[in-house]
Subunit: 634 residues, 2 copies
């Protein structure tokens, strides 16, 4: 008999597992549907629905189906048991029920008013991910991929502007949203929709910071496909990538802001502690991510014979950057972002050609899957999430706040930046940036992290609606908007480079550096990087023996890779490789470039530019470079 | 105050998560160490330690460290609570502790005598995976990769022998191990080491079936590297791949064998039900896996412009095969294996060159990671698993049983096969196959699935020791063994093909088919596949208009891909591509092929062979084929 019981319980357990299989299967089918739809759209060149929008749509429909089909199922479980003997905070619970010990694992704490919501039907419960999955599994590959595929040259050229938008812009956006929302909350309290003690100014700030994470993935995909001006692309991409990092750390800092007394009053000490937290976490995550990347660069220096081992090491070390940051109490996502940037800058040069492709394709694939899963889940969550609080006034307020904040971010900052920039950001570019303030995966992931209290549930519902609206409406409207704003498309991203190369070989290279947009601080860093870091960390760059003073020669010889002497062109070549990769990669063939745009004007825009060659090596290299460009021009 | 408490609990939760990060970090570091070690070994061409052996070694050392370093930590939790009010079998538990509701999730049932073992220290507990992770996450990519990288041509040529070893051999092995173990168990009962009712004959059979899953990954890697005779390679590889499937289904069938009365007596009805279960599950999983692959083939037919979408679809559909099988109560692993085989056979031909490479590299990478994680975990488990039961007599018996069973599997079956085979399996090949009976990931995963009862714990401990021993000793001894048995290495796998091609162009192709090793049943299938399935499912093969009777022409034209008319050589070409891929893929450069072996004798072995050309298309194609081979010969 005991035996029999055992077998029954084994079958029960299998039953448990098969349930998980069904839910994963639902997701798989949604993704497959999405892929097929996108394929159809791509084939017929419909650009009004990006794959993420499609994934969201299918998720929505599936959520609706589940919601209504599974309504009448079990609401049996969900009784709350009183156990005074138990201590709180145990991670594992052994419970003896009718002489059989069961192990239960801690999942989370639930507010009393949510218990009913959590009961629901089993299918809905199963379709709900643990929010930590977003932060620990789905977001890291997306963010790493973003960092790894930053177009280095254009990114560094616009670094000043990007940093301004990312740091200052996010802070502005956060505060503006918070202020506007606080006004609406006051109005809601006034009309009796909300009890005052429910919603503090810190909650508004929290909402402001999570809504400040822009995610124009749809817009960028279309930019990429249509070959929109590379500087506009870089500004938007760079802003969105860095601004995610800022928004995540900001949200975290605000959530641990804990004034000693009344949480509603301003506490200077707690405030400065939050600022300190922000700076500390940001700098720490940055350091963690980039140091792992540097370790990878140093190891891969010697490991380039076995592509599989190389790729494995690359993957594991990048993942370790994430995990170490998390383990150290920092922000893994931010660490992984800077790890990606640094990997692309140094390690990529050391990889064998095979590994270069493998790593790119691997992270591209992971990014593709993770992105579609998240967007699919967002659609699903609208109907399957149990504790939505739809408050029309709050939602209306949030929409207003988000758009006002975006405007207060882009236009004033661009005005200030244009004072300093040689190559001004044109008015139509500004409008396009304003338009591209989509909200996406990060905002959603930050909002779903905590949905226990009623304010948080209201925020989550609102954030979800804003994501859905911006992705569909703004994402779908990108192509018409480009036409309407008369933004040039079909631009060869290397075109300005060619003009540069031609002009540089004619003019004095030293004059060029004075024209550079970026500040002297950045130029010093760039020169340092090119002269010392690149030669030490990669196969590329000039040999250290030429860049270090003569008395350092013995050390320099030791640190320089033998291959650095031979091919001093490599560094620039790899720059090209990254650019070209990014044009031909992804799931679009060049045949789909719109013909009506290819003939667009070819006016050169690359007037101010820090070019690798003219900083590090001076004149002697330019000649070589010019030769290297030759085949591309023909 | 309530606010403050909230923040504290948020921090607590973070604490929970950071623990997970530390454990993953430990695994990451172990894998990184393994990769670096293997790189060193490969560079210096040490072949006595394969990466899986290395991973296991590091896991072992790390387990030792954790075991002794973390000994004095908390043993606080682990009290068993009595709650009469609770009903058993709830998946989620809401518990009210001091006015706060906590959600707990069901994990598993625990036997009373194991509760102490489960308490242990927190680090050890955290380092223990949920056994279902093996079956749902780690094994599927390994098994799929095995199926996807089967060398089709050589596999089909030896299909009869492989099937015999896989089905008959595994059954023999299972029964022999069970009988010997039953003897040992009786002896243990006699000496008082075991109470009789603890260990039934079905338990012995269970142990026999799980120990019958061979996993010569180490041996195969060395074979691959040294270019050992391709038929020996294929026999071993094919046997180990299919035998995993058989062993898994067999173990499952035995575990649900439930005689109505005394479990110790033979119950004919229950026995036949088990046999029925085995056949049903096996056939069902096969059908599920291959039908998903066929769907993929049909879809990818039209989808070859966008490599990323193609790869995504390929991945998702293959995974769906696994999930659907699990959801339907079949065996996902078996489904995924046959899905892999079918994908390689049909879908692979439809993929764009870019996707071919992407899918291969993706699954290769996943296989690499998953394999090393499993082996690493096996090393770790020796010290961190809490409920080991080391019974020397049982362990000794198991070693004896495993070797006797392997001998009873290989030698008699080979004798029988050699009666039918034109190309005999030589004596030294037989010894090598006997020697290659390593146990690995599957045996371990099957054993760890259920470690609640004491007999199961004893089995788990014993299985783990056998895996460690065989991987290190036999894995490490492969190269000396090859030399000692005088097995030729450094063979060009296409060499026999060339000889064939040359001989076929001279001789009458019809005569060739009569020489074929395989049975008429298989030949009919092959011909059917080549004439009808391949043209319908892939771009390759002859157009249906030539293979179908004339009155079917309208249908045939509809079903045939337009590209099939042009390049009737494609099918054979892709055959080559797979072969060549597999030689140049992986993490070894051809420069590492041992020079002392390259000059080995080049005596041709390919006398009996079903060649694609001579079955499907007769003479007209052979001429073309011969031309196609030409460039490879020069």
């Amino acid at each position: 008999m005991e035996k029999l019981k055992k077998y029954v319980s084994v079958k029960d357990e299998d039953q448990f597992y098969h349930q998980g299989a069904v839910e994963l299967l639902v997701f798989n089918f949604l993704l497959i549907l999405t892929i097929l739809t996108i394929w159809l759209f791509k084939k017929h060149r419909f650009r009004f629905l990006h794959e993420t929008g499609g994934a969201m749509l299918y998720g929505l429909v599936m959520g609706l189906i589940i919601q209504y089909a599974a309504k009448a199922s079990d609401a049996e479980s969900g009784t709350v048991y009183e156990c005074e003997k138990l201590k709180s905070g145990q991670s594992t619970l052994f419970i003896n029920i009718t002489n059989q010990v069961y192990e239960y694992q801690y999942k989370r704490e639930i507010s009393h008013h949510n218990v009913n919501g959590h009961q629901g039907n089993a299918m809905l419960q199963k379709m709900t991910f643990d929010p930590s999955i977003f932060f620990n599994i789905l977001l890291p590959p997306i963010i790493f991929h973003a960092g790894y595929s930053l177009k280095k040259r254009h990114f560094f050229r616009n670094l000043g502007s990007i940093l301004t938008y990312a740091f200052l812009g996010t802070a502005i956006s956060c505060i503006i949203i918070a202020l506007i929302m606080y006004g609406f909350v006051k109005a809601m309290v006034h009309t009796g929709q909300l009890k005052e003690w429910d919603f503090h100014f810190t909650d508004c700030l929290f909402f402001g910071s999570l809504m400040s994470a822009t995610d124009p993935v749809t817009v960028l995909a279309i930019f990429h496909e249509l070959h929109v001006d590379i500087d506009l692309y870089t500004l938007l991409f760079g802003e969105s990538v860095l601004n995610d990092a800022v928004a995540i750390v900001l949200t975290y800092s605000i959530s641990i802001y804990s004034p000693k007394e009344n949480p509603n009053t301003f506490d200077a000490a707690a405030f400065f502690q939050s600022v300190g937290n922000f700076l500390g976490i940001f700098a720490g995550s940055f350091a963690m991510g980039s140091s792992y990347a540097i370790v990878t660069a140093l190891i891969s220096f010697t490991l380039c014979e076995f592509p599989m081992l190389e790729t494995g090491l690359f993957f594991l070390l990048s993942w370790s950057a994430f995990l170490s940051a998390e383990a150290a109490g920092l922000t893994g996502i931010v660490a992984v972002l800077f790890c990606g940037v640094t990997q692309a800058h140094y390690t990529y040069n050391n990889l064998s050609p095979d590994s270069k492709m493998r790593t790119k394709q691997l992270f591209e694939f992971m990014n593709f899957l993770a992105e579609n899963v998240i967007f699919c889940y967002m659609g699903l969550a609208l109907f399957t999430f149990q504790n939505h609080i739809f408050n029309p006034l709050f939602i209306f307020g949030a929409f207003v706040a988000v758009f006002v904040a975006r405007a207060c971010n882009i236009y004033p900052l661009t005005f200030l930046l244009n004072l300093g920039r040689k190559q001004k950001i044109a008015r139509n570019f500004q409008h396009m940036m304003m338009f591209s303030g989509l909200r996406g995966a990060i905002a959603f992931a930050l909002a779903i992290r905590d949905t226990e209290s009623q304010p948080k549930q209201m925020m989550f519902t609102t954030a979800l609606l804003i994501v859905l609206f911006t992705v569909w409406v703004f994402g779908g409207g990108t192509t018409p908007m480009l036409t309407w704003l008369q933004i040039r498309v079909g631009i060869d991203p290397d075109e300005d480079l060619k003009v540069e190369a031609a002009s540089q070989s004619a003019s004095n290279p030293d004059k060029n550096t004075t024209k550079a947009e970026s500040a002297w601080l950045f130029r010093i860093w760039y020169s340092f990087d090119h002269k010392y870091l690149k030669p030490i960390l990669t196969h590329a760059g000039p040999p250290l023996t030429t860049t270090l003073p003569e008395w350092c020669n013995p050390v320099a010889r030791l640190l320089t890779s033998p291959s650095a002497y031979g091919d001093q062109l490599k560094d620039d070549d790899t720059d090209y490789i990254i650019n070209n990769d990014e044009l031909t990669e992804n799931y679009e063939s060049s045949a789909h470039m719109p013909v009506w745009d290819r003939t667009g004007s070819t006016q050169a825009t690359g007037k101010e530019d820090i070019h690798e060659g003219d900083l590090g090596l001076g004149g002697y290299k330019l000649q070589l470079e010019h030769t290297a460009h030759q085949p591309q021009m023909n």
